[in-house]
């Protein structure tokens, strides 16, 4: 029996932690940096913004970028840089609030229908078909039209439509995970369904959902600012990137910086979330 003990104490090769590996990927680092900076700007815009975003100065309207106003000023003389920075607060909030509820609902519903299948799964399939038939934006605009414009209603609208995408992803992943014997082992061990679904299947099935979540946060910012642009989301004079772009639209030939700067902010944050999601996919994948 000594031979068995000897064999079990196999030499383990020192392995780099997953964090160490992820930190060597430039994409992940850049994404983490962008989102880190964005989060800081969102949490304390007052510290970084040079002016009050709503300070009107009729003496300095539509000034091009200069050392005093790096992003120029708008038609009311408000400092464009300060408005873009203060918009981080609203837009980052959008990225989170428009997605977390959809994700939570989607993950739970998806896990349940994936585990139990049957009639509920059939109904779920029809609901998914119905929702994904419509373009996302059209459906959200329809819901906002019913509820009325404004940020809160926009979050409700995006959640009502968006959970379906999470649930679909989660369902497929749970079904795939159930092909593994550890799920059967849970049944054989006499574990409750709740334990098998939430303790065993969910942690193994959630990785793609988290990666999708990162992308979805980028999409939520894009969608939120689209609605802001259309006048259905954040309302002026609130500084929000979509609203800022809409305000600059009338002066696009004379004061191009008014629309360009918030546009760049949208692109950068979107890129940051995408890169971060990509890096997280590697970081969260369980080892074989």
């Amino acid at each position: 029996m000594t031979d068995i003990t000897a064999l079990s104490a196999e030499a383990t090769i020192p392995q780099k932690t997953r964090l160490q590996l992820a930190l060597r990927k430039p994409g992940f680092l850049i994404g983490a940096f962008i989102i880190g900076v964005s989060a800081m700007l969102a949490l304390m815009p007052g510290v970084f913004a040079p002016y009050d975003p709503n300070l009107i100065d009729y003496v300095a309207v539509k000034q091009p970028p200069s050392w005093a106003h790096p992003f120029g000023t708008d038609m009311l003389g408000r400092d464009s840089l300060s408005r873009v920075i203060f918009a981080y607060k609203v837009n980052m909030q959008m990225a989170i609030l428009a997605t977390v509820f959809a994700m939570t609902i989607g993950v739970i519903v998806g896990a349940l229908v994936g585990y139990y299948r049957g009639f509920a799964d059939m109904i779920f399939g029809r609901v998914v078909d119905a929702v994904i038939t419509f373009p996302f934006l059209v459906l959200v605009i329809a819901v906002v039209a019913v509820l009325g414009p404004g940020l809160i209603n926009m979050y409700i609208a995006i959640t009502l439509v968006g959970w379906v995408y999470y649930a679909r992803l989660m369902r497929a992943e749970v079904i795939a995970q159930m092909g593994n014997d550890y799920a059967s082992a849970g049944v054989v061990m006499g574990y409750s369904d709740r334990r098998i679904i939430f303790r065993h299947l969910l942690p193994n099935a959630i990785t793609p959902v988290i990666v999708y979540w990162m992308t979805d946060m980028a999409l939520a910012i894009l969608l939120g600012s689209s609605l802001g642009y259309l006048g259905l989301g954040a309302q002026p004079p609130q500084a929000e990137w979509g609203v800022l772009i809409a305000e600059g639209r009338n002066f696009i030939t004379t004061a191009w910086w008014l629309s360009l700067m918030p546009g760049i902010a949208i692109v950068l944050t979107g890129l940051g979330f995408s890169l971060l999601g990509d890096g997280l996919a590697d970081l969260l994948r369980p080892r074989g």
């Binding site: 029996m1 068995i4 003990t5 064999l7 079990s8 104490a9 196999e10 383990t12 092909g179 593994n180 014997d181 550890y182 059967s184 082992a185 049944v187 054989v188 061990m189 006499g190 574990y191 334990r195 303790r199 065993h200 942690p203 193994n204 369980p286 080892r287 074989g288």
Partner: protein, 332 residues
């Protein structure tokens, strides 16, 4: 003297095959895979019963029925006198404590996100095997029992080899102190040297803990080594059951004879008089009428094509499902 702990009676299980659009248009009836066609088997207390057969003959399906992963359409399984598929029994999770299963693939049977310690203590706490405070020491005991080092408790499954993972699976099954263990191809995914370790460990634990084991495998020499009795399955039917030594040295059913002679021998002088079966294993989608083996059997008669032979006791041997068992075994 021999006490039956589990009585499997005539279980039948079919899986529907999904119909294609062409089937639907041509109005072909839905087809089914007949995985088990009336399997009857008794498991005696303290024994190791080997179950052998070709791929796809229903060995694993039978194992999964016993632990209630599948529910047979017909027939019954009684454990300790109680029907395990009765409505009140299904709600009772203590059956799942008393009868445990170990799976073939050690790479998928452990949750990749739980450490060994978590896997074992979960089993202990769900079934209230020990008070909360004693769980860590019991986990240590279990690791000792399957001869894993103590630091294994903090490691994730990917840090172990196949054989070590299989021992974690054994420890998980033993954590709930079962009476019956179902080993479904327990070692077929492992290297030969590791197979021996795991099997010997299992046999030792059986002695220590007085376990009853159903050992499903396709490795005949291994089954001969571990089992007291052996059942041979062919196309979802048991064709022969008997004492392991008798069955291996002197099989009665023509299929058992062919199966055993197909196993490679280690004796260099032993060459070439293996019985070669004609034809292919029939598809379980389309089981032949009469004796399911008649299309490949050397001793086939008209009776075999018409009538399904039942299992019957043969003097001095086990039970055989063959109309002509007496003559055949006399010639063999």
């Amino acid at each position: 003297m021999t006490q039956t702990v589990m009585d499997i009676k005539d279980i039948e299980l079919e899986f529907p095959v999904s119909r294609s659009l062409v089937d639907f248009v041509k109005k072909r009836p839905g087809r089914v895979v007949r995985a088990l066609n009336g399997v009857s088997l008794q498991l005696h207390k303290g024994e190791t019963l080997g179950v052998v057969g070709e791929s796809g003959c229903g060995k694993s399906t039978l194992a999964r029925c016993i632990v209630r992963l599948y529910e047979p359409q017909n027939g019954s399984i009684h454990f300790d006198g109680q029907d395990i598929f009765a409505a009140d029994a299904k709600a009772d999770r203590s059956y799942n404590r008393r009868v445990q299963m170990m799976f073939q693939d050690p790479y998928s049977s452990l949750n990749p996100r739980m450490t060994t310690g978590q896997i074992l203590s979960e089993a202990l706490s769900v079934h209230n095997m020990r008070p909360e405070a004693e769980i860590p020491s019991r986990v240590a005991e279990l690791l000792d029992l399957v001869r894993l080092p103590q630091d294994a408790a903090g490691k994730l499954p990917h840090e172990f080899s196949g054989g070590q993972r299989q021992r974690i699976a054994i420890a998980r099954a033993l954590a709930v102190e079962p009476e019956v263990l179902i080993a479904d191809e327990l070692v077929s995914a492992l290297d030969v040297s590791v197979q021996a370790q795991v099997v010997n460990l299992l046999l030792e634990l059986q002695d220590q803990l007085n376990l009853t084991i159903l050992f499903v495998a396709h490795d005949l020499r291994l089954v001969r080594h571990v089992s007291n009795r052996v059942a041979v399955i062919y196309l979802g039917r048991i064709v022969e059951v008997g004492d392991s030594e008798t069955l291996f040295s002197n099989p009665s059913h023509p299929y058992s004879q062919a199966l055993l002679s197909a196993a490679p021998s280690l004796d260099p002088d032993d060459k070439g008089d293996a019985i070669r079966l004609q034809g292919e294993l029939p598809s379980p989608l389309n089981v032949p009428p009469g004796c399911p083996f008649h299309v490949r059997c050397r001793h086939v008669t008209e009776l075999c094509k018409a009538k399904v032979p039942g299992l019957r006791a043969l003097s001095g041997r086990g039970e055989v499902a063959c109309h002509h068992a007496e003559e055949i075994s006399k010639h063999a």
